[in-house]
C-alpha cells in the first residue's frame, strides 16, 4: 500500500491541473457585486422598516392611539411642510428617512416606465448631490448613499423589461446621458472632496463607469435583451427590487446556467422563505451533515439551487 507521500506525488499533477481556475471577468464580477449590494440595501431597508413597525406594535393600545393621533395631526397641520422641508435633508439629518419615503411614494406614482426611469435617474442625481454636500461639509458619506445610487440605476435599467425595443433604446439613451452627467459630477466631486472621502468616491465613480459601459455596450450590440431580463423576472429574484440579471455573456444572476432538470417555473425567490425547515439555506445534499449550510433543502427552499 502506498504511503501518503507516494499518493500525493502520484496525484499532484492531476490536482495541480485543477488549480488553473478560469480567470474572473472583472466586469461580470463588478456587476454581480452591484446586484448583491442592491439586494443588501433592499434587505437592510426592509429590516429597518420592520423594526420600526415592530416598535409601534409593541406599544399598548393607548400609546398607539396617542401616537396615531399625533401623527394624523402632524400630517394634517404640518405633514406637507415636513415632507417639503425633508427634501433638502442629508443622510445625517433627522428628516432624511422621510425624504426617502416621499421619493419612493413619488416613484410609485409614476405609471409610465420611461418616466419612472427618468425619475429614478433623478433620484440617482440626488444621491450624488447628497454626497457632494456631505463631502463639502466635511461629514463622512454613509455607505448607504452610493449603494442607493447604484440601486436607482439598476432599477432604471430594469425598467427596459416592460418596454418595446425602440422605447427601451430611448430609455437607455436617457440613462446613458444621465450617467455621463453623473460621471462628470463625480469627477468634479473627486477634485473638491477631502482626502478621507476619496476611496468611497472613487469606488462610486468606478461603479458609474461600469454601468455606463454596460449601457453603451448594450446600445451598441443589442445585448441585455429583454428576454433574458424577463426570464430573470419570471424566476423571481426579489419582489421588492430586482436588479438586472444580465451578465456580459448572457447568464442570469443567481441562476446556474444550463442546469438540467430545473423547471423554469420555479419561483426562486430568495426572500420567499419557502419552507426551509432546517435553517439551512441551499440545495439538497444527502451526504451533508445537518450542520451544513446549503444542504437538506429538499422541501422547497429558495428555488435557486442548481
Amino acid at each position: 500500500m502506498k504511503d501518503q507521500n507516494e499518493l500525493e506525488a502520484l496525484l499532484r499533477k492531476d490536482l495541480e491541473a485543477l488549480k488553473e481556475a478560469p480567470p474572473r471577468d472583472p466586469r461580470i464580477a463588478a456587476q454581480r457585486r452591484a446586484q448583491f449590494l442592491s439586494r443588501a440595501v433592499s434587505a437592510s431597508e426592509v429590516h429597518r422598516r420592520k423594526g420600526w413597525m415592530f416598535t409601534f406594535r409593541k406599544e399598548n393600545f393607548a400609546m398607539n392611539l396617542i401616537i396615531s393621533t399625533l401623527v394624523i395631526a402632524g400630517l394634517l397641520f404640518g405633514g406637507g411642510t415636513a415632507v417639503y422641508a425633508a427634501q433638502d435633508d442629508l443622510p445625517n439629518e433627522s428628516l432624511y428617512q422621510l425624504k426617502l419615503l416621499s421619493e419612493e411614494a413619488n416613484l410609485q406614482l409614476q405609471n409610465d416606465p420611461q418616466e419612472k426611469a427618468a425619475y429614478l435617474m433623478t433620484m440617482a442625481q440626488t444621491r450624488i448631490r447628497e454626497m457632494a454636500q456631505l463631502a463639502a461639509d466635511g461629514h463622512p458619506i454613509p455607505d448607504d448613499v452610493p449603494l442607493r445610487l447604484e440601486q436607482h440605476i439598476q432599477q432604471a435599467l430594469q425598467l427596459c423589461v416592460n418596454l418595446d425595443e425602440t422605447t427601451c433604446d430611448q430609455t437607455r439613451l436617457q440613462i446613458r446621458d444621465r450617467l455621463q452627467e453623473q460621471d462628470r459630477l463625480m469627477q468634479q466631486l473627486l477634485i473638491d472632496a477631502p482626502e478621507d472621502a476619496q476611496p468611497l468616491l472613487l469606488r462610486t465613480r468606478d461603479m458609474l463607469r461600469t454601468q455606463l459601459r454596460l449601457v453603451e455596450d448594450s446600445l451598441q450590440s443589442g445585448e441585455m435583451n429583454q428576454d433574458a431580463i424577463q426570464n430573470q423576472n419570471q424566476n423571481g429574484q426579489d419582489n421588492e427590487f430586482t436588479p438586472p440579471a444580465q451578465t456580459g455573456n448572457g447568464t442570469q444572476f443567481n441562476q446556474p446556467t444550463n442546469v438540467p432538470g430545473e423547471p423554469n417555473s420555479e419561483t426562486g425567490n430568495p426572500n420567499a422563505g419557502g419552507g426551509n425547515s432546517n435553517d439551512i439555506p441551499g440545495g439538497p445534499n444527502p451526504d451533508s451533515g445537518s450542520d451544513n449550510p446549503g444542504g437538506g433543502n429538499s422541501d422547497g427552499g429558495n428555488g435557486n439551487k442548481p
Binding site: 499518493l7 500525493e8 478560469p22 448583491f36 439586494r39 442546469v259 430568495p270 439555506p281 441551499g282
Partner: protein, 194 residues
C-alpha cells in the same frame, strides 16, 4: 477586516456596510474555489451569487452562522457545486470542453480528464471532498481544515489519506480505460472526435 463576531452581529442586523465587507472579503475566494471545481467562470459566478443570496436569506430569517463565517460560506458553495454535478447525471458535454487551442483534441482530452477528476472528487464523502479541495486546490493547512471540519488534525490526515487512495483508484481505472482505448480503438473513437 474587523473581528468576525462583530461583523456577523452587524450582518445579522442587515447593515449594508457589513454585508459589503463580507462580500468583498470572501467572494474572490469562493469564486476561485467554485471555478476550480466547476471549470467554468459563468457557473462559478452563479455559484458565488447564489452562495451570498442564500447567506442573506439566512440572515433575513435570523438564522445563519454565529461564527466560522468562512467555513459556512464555503459549505454553501461546496453544496451548490455538488448539487450541480448531481443534476448533470454524469454527462460530459464535449463541446463545452473544446477550446480554440492549436491542438484541440489534446486540449479537449485534458479538459475531460479535469472534468472527470472534478466529478470523482465530488463523489467522495463530503468530508473527503472538502479535505481534497481545500488542501490541494486551495492550499489550506491541515489545521485550518481541522478547524473548518471541527475535527482533530489526526482525523483530517486520515480522511485525506482515504480520499487520496480513492482518487488513485480512479486514476488507475481511467488510465486502464484510456490504455485499452488506445490499443483497440480507431482515432475516431477518441474523446472529442465525434
Amino acid at each position: 477586516m474587523p473581528e468576525e463576531s462583530d461583523l456577523l452581529q452587524r450582518a445579522f442586523r442587515l447593515e449594508t456596510r457589513a454585508l459589503t465587507e463580507i462580500y468583498d472579503a470572501y467572494s474572490p475566494g469562493i469564486y476561485r474555489y467554485a471555478a476550480r471545481l466547476l471549470g467554468d467562470s459563468n457557473l462559478a459566478e452563479d455559484c458565488v451569487a447564489d452562495t451570498f443570496v442564500r447567506f442573506m436569506d439566512a440572515l433575513q430569517k435570523q438564522r445563519g452562522p454565529r461564527d466560522h463565517l468562512q467555513a459556512y460560506l464555503y459549505r454553501i458553495a461546496h453544496n451548490w457545486i455538488a448539487d450541480f454535478y448531481r443534476t448533470q447525471k454524469g454527462n460530459v458535454e464535449l463541446d463545452e470542453w473544446l477550446s480554440s487551442d492549436d491542438r484541440p483534441e489534446d486540449e479537449a482530452a485534458g479538459n475531460i480528464r479535469q472534468m472527470q477528476l472534478r466529478k470523482v472528487i465530488l463523489k467522495l464523502s463530503p468530508d473527503q471532498q472538502r479535505v481534497i479541495a481545500l488542501k490541494y486546490l486551495e492550499d489550506w493547512s491541515n489545521e485550518e481544515i481541522a478547524h473548518l471540519l471541527k475535527k482533530p488534525v489526526g482525523a483530517v490526515k486520515s480522511i485525506q489519506h482515504r480520499a487520496l487512495r480513492s482518487l488513485e483508484r480512479f486514476l488507475e481505472e481511467r488510465d486502464d480505460h484510456e490504455g485499452s482505448k488506445r490499443i483497440g480503438s480507431p482515432a475516431s473513437e477518441r474523446p472529442g472526435s465525434a
